[in-house]
Symmetry: D2
C-alpha cells in the first residue's frame, strides 16, 4: 500500500515534533513538505530533505501533499483549517481547535459541509497508559466507574502574553483533563462545580485568570470526577489520572524521567518528568499513526471535532462556575447549546 504524503503547517515546537516523526518513524506516511512564515524554521525542510514553503496555502495546494498537519499558532489556526478543509485533504490538527465555542461551531460547520476528515490532537488518548486503561475499563476489569481523577500540573507559568490569549486555565490547560475523562468513562459531563484562585503568580489577577483550580464533575451516568489544573508544579510535569470502579482501580502516570535512583545520606531520590514532550513523546507518534491508519482505511477520525467541542464546553462551564460559585449544568450530550463564550 502506498504511503500517504504529508505536509506540516507550522514549525513551532509541536510542528517540528510532528515533522520529525513523519520523516522517520510513522509507518505508512512520508513527509514531503513543511510550511512556516519564519525562514529560520524552514532549515528543518533541508535537514529532513523535504520541500519548504513560506506560504502555507501553496503547500496545501501542492499535488504532492496528500494530507495536512495543522500546527500553526492558535490564533491563526482557524484560517489554516479553513484552507485545509476547503482542499478536501485529510487534516490532523493540534489542539485546541479554537479558543471559543463560536469558532468551534464555525469549524464544525465547515467540516460537515465539506465532509472533511479532521482529527484533533488530544494525544493523551494515544499514550499507552491511558489507552490501556480504557481497554481495561471496556473489558469490565474494574466494574462500574465510580470516580475519576485527572490532574495537569504544569511546571511553570507560560509567558503573560500567552496567558492573555489563552482562554484561561480551563480552556488552555485543563481541557486535556476534560477530554481524557470523557475518553476514559465513555460518558458525558452533566454538571461542573469549580473553585480556584491565584496562589503564586499575583499578576494573573490582571488577566482575570487563576493559577490553580479544582473542578468537580458529575457524569450523566452518575460517575464523579475531579480535575486539578495547576501552573506551578516546581518539581516537574505532573500529569496523572485514576479511574476508580466498583471492582478495582486504575492509576495512570509515571513520575521518573531518568532510570536512576540515588541513595545517599539524604535518603533516596530521583528526578521527575520535566515536561509534556518527555511524558508524551510516544503518544505524539502514535496519534499520527492512528491518523494515517484511519485515512488509509477510510475510517472516521479517532478524535473528532465533536470531541473538541465537548471538552471546550466543559471548560466554559467550569469558568462560569468559578465565577458564580454555583454548580453549572450542561445539556444532555455534554454540550452548551445556544450560547457562546
Amino acid at each position: 500500500m502506498a504511503r500517504i504524503q504529508v505536509g506540516v503547517i507550522g514549525l513551532g515546537r509541536m510542528g517540528a515534533v510532528h515533522a520529525r516523526h513523519l520523516a522517520g518513524s510513522v509507518a505508512g506516511a512520508r513527509l514531503v513538505a513543511v510550511a512556516d512564515v519564519d525562514p529560520k524554521r524552514l532549515a528543518l525542510a533541508e535537514e529532513l530533505g523535504v520541500k519548504g514553503y513560506v506560504e502555507f496555502r501553496d503547500m496545501i495546494a501542492s499535488p504532492d501533499v496528500e494530507a495536512i498537519v495543522v500546527a500553526g499558532p492558535t490564533d491563526q489556526r482557524e484560517a489554516m483549517l479553513e484552507a485545509a478543509i476547503e482542499s478536501g485533504k485529510p487534516i490532523f490538527c493540534e489542539k485546541p481547535l479554537a479558543q471559543t465555542l463560536d469558532a468551534v461551531y464555525r469549524i464544525k460547520a465547515a467540516v460537515e459541509k465539506r465532509g472533511a476528515f479532521l482529527q484533533l490532537g488530544f494525544m493523551r488518548r494515544f499514550d499507552p497508559g491511558y489507552a490501556a486503561a480504557r481497554k481495561k475499563i471496556e473489558e469490565g476489569a474494574i466494574g462500574e466507574v465510580v470516580g475519576v481523577y485527572s490532574m495537569t500540573r504544569d511546571p511553570h507559568l507560560p509567558p503573560y502574553d500567552y496567558i492573555a490569549s489563552s482562554g484561561g486555565i480551563f480552556a488552555d490547560l485543563a481541557i486535556h483533563d476534560f477530554d481524557i475523562l470523557r475518553f476514559l468513562t465513555g460518558d458525558e459531563v452533566a454538571s461542573v462545580y469549580a473553585i480556584g484562585g491565584v496562589y503564586k503568580y499575583d499578576r494573573l489577577h490582571e488577566y482575570g485568570d487563576v493559577d490553580n483550580a479544582f473542578c468537580t464533575l458529575r457524569f450523566s451516568r452518575g460517575a464523579m470526577g475531579l480535575v486539578h489544573g495547576s501552573r506551578n508544579a516546581v518539581y516537574g510535569y505532573d500529569v496523572r489520572a485514576e479511574v476508580y470502579g466498583t471492582e478495582g482501580s486504575l492509576r495512570i502516570g509515571y513520575d521518573r524521567e531518568t532510570p536512576l535512583l540515588v541513595l545517599d545520606q539524604r535518603g533516596a531520590s530521583h528526578d521527575y518528568v520535566p515536561y509534556f514532550f518527555e511524558r508524551f513523546q510516544n503518544a505524539y507518534r502514535l496519534e499520527l499513526e492512528a491518523f494515517v491508519d484511519a485515512v488509509r482505511r477510510g475510517a472516521p477520525p479517532p478524535v473528532g471535532v465533536d470531541d473538541g467541542e465537548k471538552a471546550l464546553a466543559i471548560a466554559v462551564a467550569a469558568q462560569r462556575s468559578l465565577e458564580s460559585g454555583q454548580p453549572v449544568p450542561l445539556d444532555p450530550g455534554g454540550v452548551l447549546r445556544g450560547e457562546a463564550t
Copy 2:
C-alpha cells in the same frame, strides 16, 4: 518518673489493640485493668496479667487506675465518657466522640465544666507519614498550601446494622479525612460541596446512605480540598493524601503490605495493605505515647474535643450539600453554630 497506671474500657478490636500496646510497648504507661461486659473478652485480662472488670464504673472508681481509655461501642460512649469525665482522671477516647453535634456539645460542656483532660483518637495525626508531612508544611518546604487531597477507601461495607447507626459515610468514614486535612493545613473549612451515590450496594438506599462520595472543600485561607470516601476498594485499604503547595508537593501513603514483588508471565505484582490496623499499627501506639506524655507534662491534649466537633461539623455540612446539591458554608472557625443534626 512513675509510670501512669491505665485502665481500658471496651475490649472490642480497638480496645484490645490499645490494651496490648499499653501492656508491652507504650513508654511511661502500665496497663493495670480492663473492663468489658462480655466475660469472654475478659480473658485478655488474664493473658496480660491485669485486673478485669465487668462493670466499667468499678474500674473507673478503682484507685489503681490513674487514666482511662474509652473504647466501648459508639452508642454507649457518651455514658462511659460521662462517668470518666466525672472522675477527673485523664481520658483517651476512641473516635468518634459521638455521632451527633448535639451529643458532642453535651460532652464538650461536661469537659469544660470539670476541666477534664480528654484526648480524641484521630490516630492518623500520629502516623509517621502524616506527622512528617505536617512538619514539612510548617517548615515551609512546599510554600503556601494550594490543594489537599485525602481519601479513605475501605475494602468492604460494614454490616448493615452498623450502617444503620453509623451516622452516614461522612460522619463515620470521611471524618478521618476532614480531621487530617484540618491538621495538615492548620486551617478551618469555610464551605463544602458534596456529591455521591450508591454505586455498588443497592440496599444502602434503605438506610439513606451512599457508598461513595466526593467532597470539595474550600478552606478559610483559600486552599482547596478534595475528600473521597468509599466503601468498596476491593483491592485493600486505600488511605492516601497529598498536599500540593506553591513550591512543591507531599504525597502520603503506602500500598504494599508484604515486602515481596512477584515477577512472572503476568508481569509484576504485589499485595495491598489489607485494612486499618495494618496501616496504622504504629499510629495506634504513638497516639497513646502522646497521651501519656501530655498527661505527665500537664500539657493540653494534642487532639481535643474541639477537633471532634469541627470534623463532625464538616461531615454534617457535607451531608446537607449532598442532599441539597448546593455548596454549604460553615461559620468562621469551621463550626456549625445554632444547629444540630
Copy 3:
C-alpha cells in the same frame, strides 16, 4: 490452653524488644520474669510488671518460668545456654549461637544429650516478605531456582571493641544472608568463593577484618548465589534478596521508612529504613509466636541448632576463601567436618 510463662535473660536492645513483645503482643505467652546483671536495665521489670533477677541462674530455676529467652552478650551466651539446656525448659536463643564452630559443636552436643528444645533467632525467616517468598517457591511459582541474591548492608560500623570479638564480617553480619538463602532454596551450599576488602574504615586492617565482601555460592542442586555484606550503607539499612527461577523471580525488601514522598525543585525523595529493628520489628514478634506455638504443640523448633551450625560453616568457608583466593568446597550436607575455626 494456658499461656506459657516466659523469662528473658539479657535486657540489651534485643532482649528488651523480646520482653516487650512477650508482655503485650505474643499470643499464647506471658512474660513473668527478666534477668540482667545491670540494675538500671532491671527498671524494665517494674515497667512491665514482672519479676526481675540479677542472677540469670535464679530466673532459670524459678518454677514460674516455663520457657527461656537467651539474649545476653555473645561471649556469655554459651554459659547461659548451658544452664538453660540443663534445666530442660524450652529455649529461644538470639543469634548467633556462638562465634566458633567448636562452641557450636559443644552446644549441639548438650542439646542432643538433654533432648532440649532450642530455637535460634534467625528472624528473617519470619519476616512476611521472606516467608511469603519461600511459600511461593515451594508452590512452584517461579519454577526451579536458578540464582539467589541476599545483601546485608549495615548503615555504619559497630564499635571496634565489638569488631574485635565479632568473628569477622561473615560470621557476624553475612550469617543472616547465609541462613536465609538456605531457607529460601531449601538447599545446602556446596562451595564458596569470596572476595572483599577494606574500602572505608582503614583501622579494620588492625583487626584482620574487611568492611565489604562478595561471596559467590554454589548450592548442591546447582543454584548459584551471591551475598554482599557491607558495613557502610550511609543511606540506611539495606537488606534485600532476590530469588530468580526458570519461570519467574521474587524480589524481597522495602526501602522507605516513612510513607511520605517529597516533591520539590530537586525532584522526588524519600527516607530509607534506618536500621534492623525498624525493618524486622514484625519478624521479632512473629518468631516468638512461632516459638510459643511449637512448644505448645510439641513440635520441633522451626530454626534449630543445625541451622546455626550450617550458616556458620558457610561463614567459615567464606573466610578461608577470602584468605586463599580460591573457591572452598563444603562437605555434603553443607557442613565443615573435622575442623574448627
Copy 4:
C-alpha cells in the same frame, strides 16, 4: 554547519532502527542511503525517501555517503568493516565487533593502519540512566566504588542456529554488562570467577553453552563486581545495575513498560519492559547523535575498538573460568595478550 550524509548497511532489526533515527531525529545527520541484499528490506529506502543498494560496496563508494553505519549480520561484519575502513569514511558499528579476539585484533590493526574513526554500538553507555550514574560517580557522589552489579536477563532463548554461532552467553549477552561495568567504574577487570549452568533449555548442552551464569569480577583498583546473564526471564527484559560506594549507592533501571497500575482483588500489578528495543530506544538515538557530534568535532569515537577488545577479553576469561572452576586473571589493562579464543 552542514549535516553529515549517512548510509546504513544491513536493514535487519537494528539497522532499520538506525535508519529511521537518522531519517527523522538525529540532529546533524541526514540519511541518504541504505544497503541490504534482501530486496524486500529495501522497501524501507522508498519509505524513507533515500537511495537503496543491494551491494553494500557500491553504497560505501558513493560520494553522497559521508559516514557509514555497519549493522549487517555478525558473520559478515568483518568484511563490511574491512571495506568501510578502507574507504576512510567514519564508521558506526553495531556490537559485537566480532566474536573472536583474533578477529578483533585484525580489525584493530586495520583501524590503526588506516587511522579510521570507528565507534562501537555499546548503547547502554548512552542510556540516560547509565550516563547519569557515571556522571554522579565522577562527581564523587557515592565516594569510592566498592561493588558493582549488572544483570542482563533476556526474556527468552534466541533460535538454536543463532546460539550455534553466538560465541556463548558471555561473548553474546553478558558482554554488555562487562562493557558497562568498565564504563561505570572507569577501571579494568583484573580477574574473573564464573559459575553457570543449564537450568531451563536442556538442548543447550549440545551447543556447549549455558542459559545462566554468575561472574564475580575483581577490578584493578579493588572494586568487586557481579554479572548475571540469563536467557529465561519469562516476565520481560530485566536489565539493571547498581553501583555501591563508600558514601552512597546508585540503582539504574526501570521495569514498567506501560504507565498503568492495576488494582483489583489480586492486589496491585503492572506489566514489564518487554525487550531491548523498548528499554533502550532513546539510547539507540543518542549513540548516533554522539557519533555525528564526534565526527563533526574531529574528536575520537566515544566507544572505540579497544572497548570492544576489552569487553570480549572479560568474556573469554569468564568462559575459561566456567570451564576450569578457578578464578582467571587478566593482564594489566584488562587484556588477554598472546592468546586467542
